[in-house]
């Protein structure tokens, strides 16, 4: 079989064997959850409950009228004990609703739509919005927004992203193995909403059992499973589209510009839960792994569970950790406290031991061009880094810095240990700020 791929990319050590074979366990319902009002890309929610209110599982605790946003729900039943600024794994600080559990696990009334095929796309799309579903791959972009492409850009193909190219993480792999039916049903729901005719499920070829399982369960001729070469960042949506369909998303464009929509397999499974069972997004599967954790596990965790609770369920830390990362090791964010909640975009918690973490000293660029070779967006990271370091952000924009997907390949290969991604992120932030100030 021919292995499809894209230009550039790197081959980091995968280390998936730590948790690859462990089934998804349910984390016991935590006593306290911290639910940030901003867990997605877009406008933050306004609190819809007050301190001392009793809440049930699945009750909306935060919502807004803005289109690009997504409501948040109570993930345990109990009492709202406080609404205040709390540490957030991405934003640093964010207004959050703190719920103390009463141990009852009472649900709000669920409204399942068993016969979803009879419903109109609008009804389904609204259900997805009400369920607070966002992209679970890590970026947390509201799914209903993705499912509302502009009228002049119809979507003909849906791609389900089961590449899971980040090292260490195995949550998508376990979902594909254990919840295959939901993944495929979710895909069919997405296809119905968009009226798309074709669908592909892209899975890296190091997950051969997942490819077999998914292939075996597909009962629709329009859905195909594609085995992808195991290369980082195969799961980045633009690279995935290029690999599977050989279509190139234009500079600063989005997948709908080429008639494609990409969704993560986990998102697809939670869409099925939202429609068929009427359950909003109150939990997600995460991978807790790394040498620093005593018992690495794949877990289904309620949104808002503190990292410290998750880690102690996994047997705690082996010793003083060197680094704790939320997300994958390539794109994830290092954290300085475990007093932060699991949010919708948390795909994993990775704990490195002290001796695994090297503190690298940055040295001048030696112009070797390795970063240029590996950049999957075909940019010039070395040039972008230098321009950004010298405050020449406008020029960096002309060199296409805004097209960078921040995959981290350039920093990964740089022999001079330049903080290339950080320079690029800085340039992107400064350009965005400049544009905002100008408008």
């Amino acid at each position: 079989m021919k292995r499809l791929s894209f230009t550039g990319g790197v081959y980091p050590v995968k280390r998936k064997e730590l948790v690859k074979h462990k089934e998804i366990e349910e984390l016991p319902v935590p006593k306290k959850v911290v639910i940030p009002l901003n867990q997605h890309i877009g406008a933050p929610c306004d609190p819809k409950v007050e301190v001392n209110d009793q809440v049930k599982i699945g009750q909306v605790v935060g919502d807004t009228d803005k289109f690009v946003s997504s409501p948040v729900h109570a993930s345990i039943s109990g009492k709202v004990i406080s609404i205040k600024d709390m540490p957030h794994p991405v934003l640093g600080k964010c207004l959050a609703i703190i719920i103390e559990g009463d141990g009852k696990s009472e649900w709000v009334e669920k409204k399942p739509l068993k016969d979803w095929t009879a419903e109109s796309p609008n009804v389904l799309r609204n259900r997805i919005r009400e369920a607070g579903i966002v992209g679970l791959g890590g970026a947390a972009f509201p799914t209903h927004v993705k499912l509302s492409p502009p009228k002049d850009k119809p979507i003909d193909t849906v791609i389900l992203n089961g590449a899971e190219c980040e090292p260490y993480l195995t949550c998508d792999y376990r979902i594909m193995l254990e919840d295959t039916g939901s993944v495929i049903t979710g895909l069919k729901i997405i296809m119905k909403i968009l009226g798309a005719r074709h669908a592909y499920i892209g899975i890296e070829d190091d997950k051969i059992d997942a490819i077999r399982k998914v292939k075996g369960m597909i009962d629709d001729g329009n859905i195909k499973v594609i085995a992808l070469k195991a290369k980082y960042p195969q799961g980045a949506e633009k690279q995935l589209i290029k690999t599977i369909l050989n279509r190139e998303v234009p500079s600063l464009g989005l997948p709908f510009d080429v008639g494609v929509l990409v969704q993560n397999v986990g998102t697809s499974a939670s869409i099925t839960r939202a429609i068929m069972d009427g359950e909003p997004l109150i939990s997600r599967v995460i991978t807790v792994t790394g040498k620093g954790v005593t018992k690495p596990k794949n877990l289904r965790v309620r949104i808002g569970t503190l990292f410290s609770d998750v880690i102690s369920f996994c047997g705690g830390l082996t010793r003083e950790p060197g680094k704790i990362i939320m997300g994958g090791p390539m794109m994830g964010l290092a954290q300085f406290t475990t007093n932060i909640p699991v949010i919708k975009g948390t795909s994993g918690i990775i704990v490195f031991e002290r001796d695994e973490v090297e503190i690298l000293k940055e040295t001048p660029c030696i112009k070797c061009g390795k970063c240029v070779d590996v950049c999957p967006m075909r940019l010039l990271p070395s040039v972008l880094g230098t321009l950004s370091a010298n405050g020449r952000f406008k020029e960096a924009e002309n060199y296409g810095v805004l097209d960078c997907i921040e995959c981290g390949c350039c920093s990964f290969v740089c022999p001079a240990k330049r903080h290339l991604i950080q320079y690029i992120k800085l340039a992107k932030a400064e350009i965005t700020a400049m544009k905002k100030a100008a408008s």
């Binding site: 950080q422 800085l426 932030a429 400064e430």
Partner: protein, 263 residues
């Protein structure tokens, strides 16, 4: 042989010089001689404080456009403004000399770090990670983005991790103010005697927990100020320098030591 070469090269030389001579007459660009004189008076630091891309551009603007005032050069101050006004025939309003002030005294020993930062030495980049690694969310990060931005080499990071401004060198151009992502640099008149060296807008208890010298918003300074120059806004005193008599009374009364006297 030599003669041939000399004649042909000489001939070419003559021909080209003729062309150049004609071209310089034909394509002569009229330049107001005053522009050159203004450029000579300006400091030539190209700091951009006037709003133009550099000194020569400002010179052009100020000569050509009647509505551009002559006192925009902040580094040059009153004297340069006077001269520019004299050359361009514009009336000059008196502007006092200004300089930058750092509104934070949370040095390394006074404010704890919230985490170890390993990355590029730039406050703007550090800010993108959880708003920086200082436990005070308003405080100076001390990576020296202002130092790099200063066209006059007037800023230095001291051993305690805070920027110090050289009073003599600083011209008040405001470049540092523009790049500081925390917004804790302000441009005040050069001759002021007191300023509030804190930017924390949180309530007193929160500030006390994280900083030994942070303003707790107790408003003693505002209540005791005889000239009524201080008002409290967002838990911080705001001094109106046109009312302030520079008596320095507030400095002694501040329980936190965040009201600072200029030495």
């Amino acid at each position: 042989m030599i003669l041939e070469a000399a004649i042909s090269l000489g001939g070419l030389g003559l021909l080209f010089s003729l062309c150049l001579g004609l071209a310089s007459k034909r394509f002569y660009v009229e330049v107001d001689p005053r522009v050159g004189r203004v450029i000579e008076v300006l400091p030539g630091a190209n700091c951009g404080a006037c709003g133009c891309p550099g000194c020569s551009k400002y010179a052009e603007h100020v000569v050509m456009e009647p509505e551009v005032p002559a006192n925009l050069c902040i580094p040059g101050g009153g004297e340069v403004a006077k001269e520019v006004g004299h050359i361009t025939g514009k009336e000059v309003e008196e502007t006092g000399k200004k300089r930058a002030f750092i509104l934070c005294s949370g040095s390394k020993d006074r404010v704890a770090k919230s985490f170890n930062y390993q990355g590029i030495e730039d406050c703007r980049a550090a800010l993108l990670l959880f708003s920086g690694n200082k436990s005070c969310p308003y405080g100076c990060l001390g990576f020296g983005t202002c130092v790099n931005a200063c066209p006059f080499e007037a800023i230095e990071i001291n051993e305690l991790g805070l920027p110090v401004i050289d009073k003599e060198r600083c011209t008040g151009c405001g470049r540092c103010k523009d790049v500081c992502p925390k917004g804790i640099i302000e441009i005040y008149p050069k001759d002021i005697k007191v300023y509030i060296a804190c930017s924390n807008k949180d309530k007193g208890k929160v500030v006390k927990d994280i900083c030994a010298v942070g303003c707790i918003g107790c408003s003693i300074c505002a209540k005791r100020c005889e000239s009524g120059a201080i008002e409290i806004k967002d838990n911080l005193p705001k001094i109106s320098y046109d009312k302030c008599t520079q008596c320095k009374d507030c400095v002694g009364r501040c329980p936190q030591g965040s009201m600072v006297a200029v030495s």
